[in-house]
């Protein structure tokens, strides 16, 4: 399994990331990608931007372990993870997770698995800025549950 991980302030190009995932790769019939972006919430004071902090010495290591766990559970051939840090504005991209695999079920499940664990194990923290000021984002209970669900489900 090839794993590529990039943590950077730079934005990423989804088309290019996809191309790198499939280039010179004829054994894989399925590619699944996730892109997370800064979204406006429903409030009257929507999020204008985020400030994304991380733990530089740990971040890549944590993501690598998550990708490797996915690789032990599903036959995934390629994983690409790109996570931005620093200042990110409304509508901008935050995270890209792309996987390629022989078959679609393993591609879907491993991509979702990586995102679910990234949400609870990768050392990133978001601070939201609205017209009212700044606020650290709280971890959502459903994110904890999502990762726990993988522990009880049987593997492929």
């Amino acid at each position: 399994m090839d794993i590529f991980i990039n943590i950077t302030t730079d934005d990423f190009d989804v088309g290019q990331e996809y191309q790198k995932l499939i280039d010179a790769n004829h054994q894989d019939g399925a590619a699944v990608f996730f892109v997370g972006r800064v979204r406006a919430d429903d409030s009257s004071k929507p999020v204008q931007r985020l400030e994304l902090e991380h733990y530089p010495a740990m971040t890549k290591k944590a993501l690598m372990q998550i990708a490797e766990k996915a690789g032990e559970r599903w036959s995934v051939n390629q994983v690409r993870i790109w996570h931005r840090v620093g200042e990110i504005h409304l509508g901008e991209q935050i995270v890209f997770v792309g996987v390629s695999s022989r078959h679609r079920q393993s591609a879907f499940e491993s991509a979702q698995f990586i995102m679910d664990y990234l949400k609870v194990e990768a050392p990133f923290w978001k601070k939201e800025y609205t017209a009212d000021g700044e606020k650290w984002v709280e971890q959502a209970d459903k994110d904890i549950k999502a990762s726990q669900n993988w522990a009880v489900e049987s593997p492929e």
Binding site: G36, L52, E53, H54, Y55, A57, M58, K61, A62, H83, I94, V95, M115, L118, K119, V120, E121, A122, P123, F124, W125, K126, K127, W136, V137, E138, Q139
Partner: protein, 81 residues
């Protein structure tokens, strides 16, 4: 000497990103926390909420033993992605 790092809202609460700490023999995370809490009310309050802890960049349980020269990090639940 162990290095202790703080991130995100915890770092802001404490007003410090990193401290160093003398540790003669291995101690548990809980023991290290107790020592930190002695530093004052701000510290006591900051450590009263659920935090994650990593030793040498790996998330560990609270009863893990830490050897001198480790890098410890305390931080609130993560919110990336």
């Amino acid at each position: 000497m162990i290095k202790i790092l703080f991130f995100a809202s915890l770092r802001e609460q404490l007003g410090v990103a990193q401290i160093e700490f003398d540790l003669a023999s291995p101690a548990s995370i809980d023991e290290i926390k107790s020592k930190l809490i002695e530093k004052g009310d701000v510290w006591k309050k900051a450590f009263s909420r659920p935090l994650l802890v990593a030793v040498n960049q790996e998330i560990v349980e609270q009863d893990t033993l830490v050897s001198p020269s480790s890098e410890i990090a305390f931080f609130p639940p993560v919110t990336g992605g």
